[in-house]
């Protein structure tokens, strides 16, 4: 990897998020909590989702990981908190499509906003899992939260 592609991986926006870790820390209330690991490198995240109706009211987390995985979850919370599940779905799908596209997918900045910065990581097989860790944890937690909410409504 050249220094130029190094710079396209570590864009300022990524380094900035990795440092600030927006919305980090575990908070109440929440409907679901998950713990995900990347078994190849040992990175870990504990992530909570709080839904209010169909609005993602809060995503809180604690993580141990590299700058790519820390920045990715930080960007994700900034992007998704406050949106409805219906609005979240296409953003999540677009992020997955970009990360699994081997660098061939041209990301839509209107949908992904700051998350387009991870297009550089998508070209590096070894870093794709880093960028996806938080997003997969959110998918898991929000599915659990919705099924719990569903059970509550069914009662």
């Amino acid at each position: 990897m050249s220094t130029a592609s190094l710079d396209s991986l570590y864009q300022d926006i990524i380094l900035d998020h990795a440092k600030r870790k927006l919305n980090s820390g575990l908070r109440e209330p929440y409907e679901a909590e998950v713990h995900h690991v990347n078994p190849t490198c040992g990175d870990e995240i504990t992530l909570r989702v709080h839904l209010d109706g169909d609005v993602v009211k809060d995503i809180s987390y604690e993580n141990l990981g590299c700058s790519i995985s820390s920045a990715s979850v930080s960007v994700m919370t900034e992007l998704l908190v406050g949106k409805t599940l219906e609005e979240v779905e296409p953003i999540h799908a677009a992020f997955l499509e970009m990360m699994r596209g081997k660098g061939q997918v041209e990301p839509d900045e209107d949908v992904l906003e700051d998350a387009v910065a991870f297009a550089g990581a998508a070209k590096l097989t070894a870093r794709i899992k880093c960028a996806l860790l938080g997003w997969m944890a959110f998918q898991d937690a929000s599915a659990q939260a919705q099924s719990d909410t569903q059970k509550e409504t069914d009662k």
Binding site: S2, L6, Y10, L64, C66, S67, S70
Partner: protein, 431 residues
Amino acid sequence: MSTSSLPGLLPELEIVRKDFPILERTFEGVPLVYLDSANTSQKPQIVIDTMVDHLERHNANIARAMHHLGAESTEAFEGGRDAVARFIGAPDRDEVIFTKNASEALNLVANTLMWARGDLQIGEGDEVVITELEHHSNIVPWQLLTERTGATLRWFGLTDDGQLDVSNIDELITERTKVVSLAWVSNMLGTILPIAEITKRAHAVGDHGRGAVVVVDASQAAPQLPIDLAAMPADERPDFLAFTGHKTVGPTGIGVLWGRRALLEQLPPFLGGGEMIATVRMEKSTYAGIPHKFEAGTPPIVEAVGLGAALDYLSHIGLDAIHAHEQAITGYALDGLATVPGLTVLGPLDATQRGGAIAFELDGVHPHDIAQVLDSQGIAVRAGHHCAKPAHARFGVQASTRMSSYLYTTPGEIDALIEGLEYTRRYFKLA
């Protein structure tokens, strides 16, 4: 320090490097600095040529083909076994069993012990002892064994400076101990374990000096320490020794288990299939003698041939000379790493008391990010937990960066690493 004056370096280092064609690689003009040899070593031309020659001229299945090629292939394969026996000083060449890697070798021992009856049988009240610095492949098989038999798993801890804590050896190794399994050299901390002392103690426990079975994971030792099993006093000689081919400049897909003949003969088979039988009837089979009893199916033939060439190559250079080279490079690297602000080495700091894998932390930068920036400079290291999560947890570390040298590593490459780490600090605005 003037690197030409570094004592202990291989005198013909530049010639040795020419034996390894991959070291010529560049990435967009940046030369490769390969410091990941504890992960896998690079391969000399003689290994590549020997394997190609076998495939081009001698390929056939072994021990069952009644033709010229079958005889040549069998001879080459068994020649590989002879080379392994020479390399580790095996008292008997039939005690050398080919597996697919060190993990399979360790699983072979753990599984056959689980199925053993008589005085080798393991059950409730029995104990298996390992250490906190093991690679996962020397932890998980013993967890499986003890979970399935009701036995108890215990382990040696580590001191703060990364040495094995043997202060409670008399509490750990007792008449209840059936197996002691430990690494010779740590793949993360570099620590060299007191194999002779622990083996002697383990062999002395139990009624009538039955002794516990001692298994040594030599995956990191075989590449860099001279091993002569036959020369060890019998009570200090382990009962089993495992290592993998690809870390000793051989190919992947082949590993070695050496075991004491009497034990191998007493243990039940591991995998069933072709080549491991004496005769098969529909009701029941009888089994071949060692080593074939533990080698079911067509083995990795060309890999065994390649491993033989690899071990002969290392022996030709000499393990004493390779060990001295590793110590010289390790000492030079430890001195260099000590100059990097915020860098902490995990494990012993005396190069003469450790192996060539050096794991470290750098304040403010995650190991993945370090490895990524170093890669942009052509420098290959490993980042993560190195399949030794408990050893990392012992030092309160999630992941580390690891450099590991070998017989082809130069002081100039260590200089490149140190400069690369300085560059990494500047890149992440720590300097």
